[in-house]
C-alpha cells in the first residue's frame, strides 16, 4: 500500500495554514508601508523582556565586582596616608625611608602614585605562583615612577604564547639595579612575582 506523499503533504500543509488574507489586506493599508525598516513588528507584552533582565543582571554583576574593590581601595588609601604621610609630599620623598624588603612595597604608596590600572588579574592563572621566577621579554611602556626604594615601570609582555603576549604588568626595579630601563625599550628579564596586599608586582631580579 503506497500513499502519494506529494499530494498528501500539500493537503496537510494547506489544512494547517491559517487564513491570513484579512490581516495582509489590513497591512497593505498601513500608513508606514513605505518605511525603510522592513522588519516584522514584534507583538508587545507578549513575551518576557529578556533584554531588560540581561541588562539588570549585568549591572548587578558589575556592582558586585566593583564595590568590594572600591571599598578596599578607599580603605587602603586612607591607611596608607595615615601611615606614611611623607610619601605623598612629592616625588623623591620616598627615599626618606626606603624599605628594603619586598613586603614593604605596597604599604608605602597611595593608589595615586601607582601606574595606570593594569589587568593583573588576568595574569593570576598564567604566571608562576608567588615565589617563582619567570623569564620574559617585556617592553617598557613608561619612564617609571619612584616607588618604595626603587622605580616601578609599566610594561607589556612580548611572548609567542598568546595567553601572555600583550599582557600589561607592573615591574619593580630597586635602586640597586644596574640597568636604566627606558620607555619603549625591550628587555629580557627574569621577574620574581610578589603578591602584595592588593597588588601583584614583578621584581626584576636579573
Amino acid at each position: 500500500m503506497s500513499k502519494d506523499l506529494k499530494t498528501q503533504y500539500r493537503m496537510l500543509a494547506d489544512s494547517r495554514t491559517p487564513d491570513l488574507w484579512a490581516r495582509i489586506e489590513k497591512g497593505l493599508d498601513r500608513p508606514d508601508l513605505g518605511r525603510a525598516d522592513d522588519t516584522v513588528p514584534v507583538r508587545k507584552n507578549r513575551r518576557f523582556q529578556y533584554d531588560t533582565l540581561a541588562a539588570a543582571a549585568a549591572a548587578c554583576l558589575c556592582a558586585a565586582i566593583a564595590l568590594p574593590v572600591l571599598i578596599r581601595g578607599s580603605a587602603g588609601g586612607s591607611m596608607d596616608r595615615a601611615g606614611a604621610p611623607m610619601a605623598l609630599s612629592e616625588e623623591g620623598a620616598y627615599s626618606d625611608a626606603p624599605p628594603s624588603d619586598a613586603s614593604a612595597l605596597s604599604g608605602s604608596a597611595s593608589p595615586a602614585d601607582e601606574p595606570d590600572v593594569y589587568e593583573e588579574s588576568a595574569l593570576e592563572d598564567i604566571m608562576p605562583a608567588s615565589g617563582e621566577d619567570l623569564s620574559v621579554t617585556v617592553e617598557i611602556l613608561d619612564g617609571g615612577r619612584p616607588y618604595a626604594g626603587g622605580i616601578i615601570y609599566a610594561a607589556r609582555m612580548l611572548s609567542d604564547d598568546e595567553a601572555l603576549d600583550g599582557r600589561k604588568i607592573k615591574i619593580f626595579a630597586d635602586d640597586g639595579s644596574r640597568t636604566a630601563y627606558e620607555a619603549a625599550g625591550i628587555y629580557e628579564l627574569t621577574l620574581h612575582r610578589e603578591e602584595q596586599a592588593e597588588d601583584i608586582l614583578y621584581r626584576i631580579i636579573e
Partner: protein, 175 residues
C-alpha cells in the same frame, strides 16, 4: 504557478492590483507558512511573519527580476524574515536540541516498517532540518541546488537530508 504567471502577477501588483497579490497568496501561502514555521515553530510568530511576507512582497514587487526561480526567491526572503524576527525577539529555537530528540527516536525505527500511520505522524519522525528540506522540495518544487542556496548549506547536505527523510517516510508507506 508558472514563472510566467508569477511575473504577470508581479506586473499587475506594480500597477496597484491587489488581486494579483491575492493570486500569489492563494498559490503560495501554505508554502511560505511552511518555510517560516520551520524557523518559527510558534504558530503566532509564523502567522505574523507570513503576513508580513506578503505585505513586503507587495512593497518590493517593483524590484523583482524574473528568470531566477520565483519560488526560491520567495523562500529565501521568507526564511530571512523569519530569522530576523527570531533575532529581534532574542529567542533561541534550539533546532539542534530537537534534532537530538529526533535522533533518539530514530534508533527503534531503523528497520521497522510502520504501515498505518498518518502523514502528520510520519512527519514527526523527521528531524527539523530534514523537514525543512522536504518542505522546500515538495511544497516549493525547488531543485536541490536551489534548496542549498536558500538554506546556505552544501548541496550534498541537502540531498543527504532529503534521502534520510524520504527513507523514513517510505517506511511509513509514503512514496
Amino acid at each position: 504557478m508558472e514563472e510566467r504567471q508569477f511575473s504577470a502577477c508581479i506586473e499587475r501588483m506594480c500597477s496597484g492590483d491587489r488581486e494579483a497579490l491575492h493570486d500569489i497568496y492563494e498559490a503560495y501561502v501554505s508554502y511560505i507558512y511552511a518555510v517560516v514555521s520551520r524557523v518559527l515553530p510558534k504558530r503566532e510568530d509564523a502567522e505574523d511573519v507570513t503576513s508580513e511576507f506578503f505585505i513586503r512582497l507587495w512593497k518590493i514587487s517593483g524590484t523583482y527580476r524574473g528568470g531566477g526561480g520565483h519560488r526560491a526567491w520567495m523562500a529565501a526572503i521568507a526564511r530571512n524574515m523569519a530569522i530576523d524576527f527570531l533575532r529581534k525577539t532574542k529567542r533561541e529555537v534550539l533546532t539542534e536540541d530537537f534534532a537530538d530528540q529526533a535522533m533518539a527516536s530514530d534508533a527503534g525505527l531503523e528497520q521497522e516498517v510502520i504501515a498505518d500511520v498518518s502523514l502528520s505522524q510520519a512527519l514527526d519522525l523527521l528531524k527539523p532540518k530534514e523537514r525543512e528540506v522536504v518542505d522546500l522540495k515538495i511544497m516549493g518544487d525547488l531543485t536541490f541546488r536551489e534548496i542549498a542556496a536558500v538554506l546556505k548549506i552544501p548541496i550534498g547536505t541537502v540531498t543527504w537530508r532529503y534521502q534520510n527523510a524520504i527513507r523514513k517516510l517510505r517506511r511509513c508507506g509514503y512514496e
